[in-house]
Amino acid sequence: MWQYVLRRMGEGIITLIALSFVVFGSVHLTGDPADYLMPLTEAHDQKIYEAQKKQMGLDRPFIVQYWDYINSAIFFDFGTSYVIQKPISELILKKLPATVHLALSGFFLAIIIGIPLGIMSAVKRDSIFDKLGKGFAVFGLAAPQFWVAIMLILFLGGKLQWFPTYGRGDIQGWWPTIEQIPQTLWHLALPSIVLALSVTAAIMRLARSAMLEILDSDYVKFAQVKGLSNRLVIWRHAAKNALIPVLTFGGITLAGLLNGSVIFEVVFAWPGVGLLLLDGVTQRDFPLTEAAILLSGFFYICTAVIIDITYGLVDPRVRAR
């Protein structure tokens, strides 16, 4: 077992190193930061250019620069943003609470709605309920998320004026004060609903197919033959096992949401990491994008490794591979 855990973690670290190398390399292949930062009037002055390069440490060999970058990245130092002129780690930490709030509330809403709906439609297969669920899933997988979000803003926020349509209220940082709680929740409502809608369709379909497979298995039939009540069989015996693939998928999805659901943050002007990243991309702020991508890569690889190890703990066959 330890061998398996170590191997899996080793693979994760190698992937992370490869990723950082590719990201760092592609930044340096495609653009010259020194050239980019030159004031336009002095763009052709070779001396100033050389000085700029030296000051940024760009005259050193590529591998040395990479090593330096990684060394400080480990301690959460990603350098300074070109555009905002502040340390990148500070910028990201400031935006993180908004992203985490949105991701967690949307995700739990999706889990609470998606899993029971999926299980119900598997149990009542081919009923009206199941067909409605299927229709919802087909629509949810085909409709562009940004469009659904805008349409909900139009009806719930604009025409009916039930919810605020942008921003997160007065809250700063992680925790709202007591007076801010209702306002925070009110601002969170519409973005979370939209975010949940996009995830619910997938979770529902997955829960349904996993549940169908398990309802067909011998031990569930045996439990039924034994005379256990339907409710007990469904929720105690079947649903428990059907949840394993759903939770794996859920873990990956949550990692994705935490990485900043750029689209939702744009639509709702939600001041999170995704919006920061989009600004970095559109303004070609290389250090900022670099850091954001590396961090999300780190998140991803960690999640993948943790899921794999959990699988290995549960299922000995995985370990043997």
Binding site: A18, F146, I150, M151, G158, V266, V281, I293, Y300
Partner: protein, 292 residues
């Protein structure tokens, strides 16, 4: 005893087509949607007027209120109908090249990884998994930072996130095909690895590839629309559906139709591709059929 002659039933061409249709029941609505997408995309400039012409006197006309602008106009007085129709062309212009390049790269990597095995396989599949793990929108954003926005940027971004799915799928198929006797025979006869992949393995994975393509196009259309929406795709003002949704957002309460209509079209096209792909899977590759 009289012999009974079993005359083979001769069917005319039309009869055979009808029989095929009855047997396999192709999905008509998706086929109609997709052929109109193709038709309007190819002949947009013959069917309708200039999508960029703005008539400032005819701004913000709601749909179905003016005979000259049946689907209304946007904030700058551009005709919605012609912009939506030219949007079909943008879909084709982005989807076709990026899918073709992705198929080429993905299939090559899948074949090589599946056939050679061992360390090559491990390395190639690690790269594939790393690409698959990331949300495609993030990879696309990273690439756009380097390549810049615009047409070429979108195509590179979409390709880079799509090839891995093809590679994974093709490799899986190759793993089973390469155990078959005719491949072993070819190896014994000294056929070169390239010829084995091209002549013996590739023809056997074409069906899977076709199914994959039709299921992936929907994803590609969505990704392109999202990038355009974020302002990372085609230049602002171009008649692309994602851009139109973003334009309508600026004055959502007054010109809601500018956002509503292109979104409906995106949803319809993606749904059509998904349904068509499901049908094609059942038709070409019954083993992949979803059990329920």
């Amino acid at each position: 005893m009289a012999t009974i002659d079993f005359e083979p039933i001769k069917l005319s061409y039309t009869q055979r087509v009808l029989k095929w249709i009855k047997e396999y029941n192709p999905p008509w609505i998706p086929i109609i949607i997709l052929s109109s997408l193709l038709f309007f995309g190819l002949f947009a400039n013959f069917v309708t007027g200039d999508p960029m012409a703005n008539d400032l006197k005819a701004r913000q006309i709601a749909p179905f209120t003016d005979i000259h602008h049946i689907l209304g106009t946007d904030m700058l007085g551009k005709d919605m109908t012609s912009r939506l129709i030219f949007g079909c062309r943008s879909v084709l212009l982005v989807t076709a090249p990026s899918i073709i390049v992705a198929i080429f790269i993905g299939t090559a990597i899948g074949l090589i990884a599946g056939y050679t095995g061992r360390i090559t396989d491990t390395i190639l599949m690690r790269i594939t998994d790393a690409t698959l793990g990331f949300p495609s929108i993030l990879v696309a954003m990273l690439l756009v930072t380097f390549v810049g926005t615009g047409y070429i940027g979108v195509i590179i971004a979409v390709t880079a996130t799509t090839w891995a799915r093809f590679a994974r799928m093709i490799r899986g198929e190759v793993l089973s095909v390469r155990e078959r006797d005719f491949v072993t025979l070819a190896v014994i006869l000294g056929v070169s690895p390239f010829m084995i992949m091209w002549r013996h393995l590739f023809p056997n994975v074409i069906n899977t590839l076709m199914v994959m393509i039709s299921l992936m196009i929907g994803q590609v259309v969505l990704l392109e629309a999202s990038l355009s929406f974020l302002g990372l795709g085609m230049s602002p003002g171009e008649p692309a559906w994602g851009i139109m949704v973003a334009e309508g957002r600026q004055q959502l309460l007054t010109t809601w139709w500018v956002s509503l209509l292109p979104g409906i079209l995106i949803t319809l096209v993606v749904m059509a591709f998904n349904f068509f792909g499901d049908w094609l899977r059942d038709y070409l590759d019954p083993r992949m059929r979803r059990s329920r």
